[in-house]
């Protein structure tokens, strides 16, 4: 038995009410909300967060990491290695980026399922377009990580699937551009419905299942309209909602996000089909196992949907680079040093301090010398990324450089020892108070000379 052993879906904290769009720009918009990655998030950081959630529910160390997004933070440089570093995986675990299309995300899942051993399949996307565009309104930002493996820990057994590959113009984007363009959505619909039906029939044949044996079908499609057009023709008992009214179409992340949403609402013994439409169609059929009954996702999608806070459309535009906002009159940060970052990889990417093996003092960043200066190199690693903390004191800096001022900043005392003065994110200035609880999140502090400066920030634990 091979399939999914654990998962994590990550929805960023901010939500854009689509009715704000037409009120502001005179066109576009619509109903419902979409998720918005913060100014300090990108597909890599969201991928890290989703992966942390997936691995929190498992003791498994993945034997390979496959990462796919339409909007990679880097070209030429691998993004999966950043995720690999943040997860503190051994160097012997390979990490690869897979392409820059929704199809590649489905491909990562396909390859993961076809191989043996544990695989972490990470997908993430930021979907936006020009102000007032359909993509801006209908898109959403999210990440998802599926841990694949074999044996009794499988909660969703992969029964089989099928592919239909085709070359035609649906969506396209030159690398580096912020927006995709679309040919003719009616042409896309007709083409995708045909491809989807063909692959779906092949998948049923491959698994020996009748159409009515499928309890739920999930369709990840470029638009709700295309997805609905196909889903209604597949004959499944139930079509799982595509979350576009509260999340948006999340591109490369969407197949896994929707599958996770289906799994989080499923009972053991149910058959679930995932159809991914993107330059063809990919169909995956799973059956949930008895192990699902005891599996607890680290942070279910429903819980994340209840969280979230509204974001003004103007700020959304500034975060996406559509509006340039006057920065504080302070120097922009210098690019981080590649060599210094390499030396402090465990700290910078893994948030690993050091713990004095004699007196237990925690150092963040790590230190070679004890607190009293008497001992050198008697330290052990202190992984702090999953340790929560309490705000000892705080401030709001209205003058310091930030891509989105002001900076909310707190001195955080970590449970079990260790203190770090650190920036808080996804936190409004009037929310922070002494005694508030904080968890850590992997973020992109700024970008200088094309180098993304990744590090950790604190984030309020609410509720």
């Amino acid at each position: 038995m091979r399939g999914i052993t654990s998962w994590g879906a990550y929805l960023p904290y901010r939500r854009l009410d689509r009715t704000q769009i037409s009120a502001f720009i005179g066109q576009g918009g619509g109903r419902g909300t979409r998720t918005v990655a913060s100014f300090d998030e990108d597909t890599t950081t969201m991928g890290v967060e989703a992966s942390r959630l997936a691995l929190r529910g498992s003791d498994t160390v993945p034997e390979a990491v496959l990462f796919s997004t339409v909007m990679p933070a880097y070209a030429d440089k691998t993004n999966a290695t950043t995720i690999h570093a943040a997860l503190r995986l051994p160097g012997s675990v390979p990490a690869f980026d897979m392409g820059s299309s929704v199809r590649s995300a489905a491909g990562a899942l396909r390859l993961g399922l076809l191989s043996t051993g544990s695989r972490l399949v990470v997908t993430a996307d930021q979907r936006t377009g020009l102000a007032g565009s359909a993509d801006e309104s209908a898109g959403g930002d999210a990440a998802a990580a599926l841990l694949l493996g074999d044996g009794d820990s499988v909660v969703a057994d992969y029964l089989g699937g099928a592919s239909a590959t085709d070359e035609f113009l649906d969506r396209w984007r030159q690398p580096g551009e912020i927006r995709s363009k679309v040919w003719d959505d009616k042409f896309s619909e007709v083409t995708y419905v045909a491809l989807g039906r063909s692959a779906y029939a092949d998948a049923l044949a491959a698994t020996g299942l009748a159409a009515d044996a499928i309890d739920a079908v999930v369709v990840a499609a470029p638009t709700t309209r295309i997805g609905s057009a196909l889903a209604s023709k597949l004959g499944a008992a139930r079509v799982v909602a595509d979350l576009t009214d509260v999340v948006g179409a999340t591109g490369a992340a969407q197949p896994s996000v929707l599958l996770i949403n289906a799994l989080e609402n499923a009972e053991p013994g149910q058959t679930i089909a995932l159809v991914v439409l993107g330059d063809g169609a990919e169909v995956f059929i799973f059956r949930t196992t008895p192990a699902l009954a005891t599996y607890r996702p680290a942070k279910p999608i429903a819980e994340q949907l209840e969280g979230g806070a509204p974001l003004a459309y103007g700020r959304f535009l500034s975060w996406r680079g559509m509006i340039n906002v006057e920065p504080p009159r302070r120097p922009e940060p210098a690019r981080p040093s590649g060599t210094a970052a390499a030396r402090s990889k465990d700290w910078k990417f893994g948030f690993v301090g050091s713990r004095d093996s004699v007196d237990g003092t925690v150092f963040m960043p790590p230190s070679r010398v004890s607190f009293d200066g008497t001992r050198t190199d008697q330290m052990e690693p202190a992984p702090m990324a999953d340790v929560k903390g309490t705000i000892a004191t705080f401030t709001v800096d209205r003058l310091a450089y930030s891509p989105s001022p002001p900076i909310v900043f707190a001195v955080v005392d970590f449970d079990g020892g260790g203190r770090l003065p650190i920036e808080l994110t996804d936190t409004d200035a009037d929310e922070v108070q002494i005694g508030g609880r904080v968890e850590m999140t992997f973020r992109r502090l700024f970008t200088a000379d094309g180098i993304h400066n990744y590090f950790w920030k604190g984030k309020l634990i609410r509720g």
């Binding site: 210094a340 000892a392 900043f409």
Partner: protein
């Protein structure tokens, strides 16, 4: 701490100080030349009489060459010194030790900073290549964290804390209004202070020191030679320095209501000078009022007030110009701004004037006439939890 100190072994026999302003027309060289010439004249010496030079600047120049070139020094040793915002003080400390060692008879210290050529607000440090994980907060934000911490610990409500900080700001601007070298020469009302735009935390514009260009200089010789140069030498009683190990940033027991580096530095300085009760023995203090809450906490770390009581002493006017122990009678960083390399020497310049009875009448303090004999200058650099501290004690008489 085990420092022997050099009490009464060296003396300052001449000083100079430029106005501290946003000095667009003057270059770093201009500022150093002006301060140096004033100091030479003050001591009645020429640059050739001076055996060695110390040049304090945080980031307006590297090496001793900027000073040597500006003054056209001929084959003189010039040492460039940097130690954060205590740079000017540290330059004088090193120069004083060189004299005390017997290596030189007569030395000069020049501190200078050209801050306003950056085009940015506030002070901005040169970026040193790093891994990108260091915090990037402004100093204002780091020091603003003292306010809620102090209020919580000592049960001082927000409104009272605000009044205390306002008193400190108003006092220093009151003093600066009486100083021709200060950048800001207007008294500021409590209402103006409290309605000013917020910069960080609860700190408004008037809770923050200004930024300025400036230079100050001092000439130092062995104490026994001092009267060759002036009738009114100022003797160095103590020079103390502590470089913090940054423990406050990572130690959960640090509570942002004190600066341990400064408390330790004060103990050492008072021991060097033989001071047993700072509150009653110190006549005046020039302290590092980079932000109003900094000055509040310093009153306790310098032992002027018992722990948890400085806020009351501030409100009672203890540290006002005509108070029991005037603090920042020249107007402080609040009125002067902070050309980093020069500030420590600017503080000593005020001590030099007051101890010699040369401060203008409207700024003359009463505590010296009342029999107190010591002036204290204090510089800090860095942030709560991670700072350097300098303290000097100076007096017009040898013990």
């Amino acid at each position: 701490m085990a420092s022997h100190g050099i009490r009464d072994r060296v003396a300052i026999v001449g000083m100079g100080c430029t106005p501290f302003i946003e000095n667009w027309p003057k270059s770093l060289d201009d500022l150093m030349i002006d301060a140096s010439n004033d100091a030479f004249a003050s001591a009645g010496v020429t640059k050739d009489d001076v055996d060695a030079y110390w040049f304090g600047t945080a980031q307006s120049g590297m090496s001793g060459i900027p000073l040597a070139r500006a003054l056209q020094l001929q084959n003189k040793p010039v040492t460039r010194v940097e130690n954060y915002c205590a740079t000017g003080s540290e330059a004088l400390r090193q120069a004083s030790y060189a004299v005390a060692s017997g290596a030189y008879d007569l030395v000069m210290v020049v501190g200078a900073e050209k801050v306003k050529d950056t085009g940015y607000q506030g002070l901005n440090a040169f970026p040193i290549p790093n891994d990108g994980t260091a915090r990037t907060l402004t100093a204002a934000a780091m020091f603003s964290m003292i306010v809620p911490a102090y209020g919580n610990k000592y049960g001082v409500d927000d409104a009272t804390m605000r009044s205390v900080l306002t008193h400190i700001a108003a006092k220093n601007h009151y003093n600066g209004a009486r100083n021709s070298r200060a950048q800001f020469r207007k008294e500021i009302t409590a209402e103006q202070i409290e309605k000013a735009p917020k910069m960080a935390g609860t700190l408004g514009v008037f809770d923050c020191a200004g930024v300025a260009d400036g230079s100050a200089a001092a000439i130092v010789c062995r104490a026994e030679d001092a009267y060759k140069y002036t009738d009114k030498p100022i003797f160095v009683k103590a020079l103390s320095f502590v470089a913090g190990n940054g423990s406050g940033l990572i130690d959960p027991s640090y509570d942002y209501t004190t600066f341990p580096e400064i408390a330790a530095c004060a103990i050492d300085a008072y021991a060097q000078a033989g001071v047993t009760n700072a509150r009653t023995e110190v006549a005046m203090a020039e302290v590092h009022d980079c932000f109003t809450p900094t000055e509040l906490v310093l009153m306790e770390d310098l032992q002027f007030s018992a722990r948890g009581t400085a806020w009351q002493d501030v409100l009672d006017g203890v540290f006002d110009l005509k108070g029991e122990l005037p603090v920042n009678p020249d107007g402080g960083l609040k009125s002067f701004g902070h050309p980093v390399g020069a500030s420590g020497l600017r503080m000593m310049f005020e001590a030099f004037l007051q101890l010699r009875g040369e401060a203008p009448e409207e700024r003359t303090i009463d505590s010296l006439a009342a029999g107190r004999k010591l002036a204290l200058t204090h510089n800090l650099g860095g942030y709560p939890g991670e700072m350097v501290s300098f303290i000097s004690l100076l007096g017009a008489e040898k013990d």
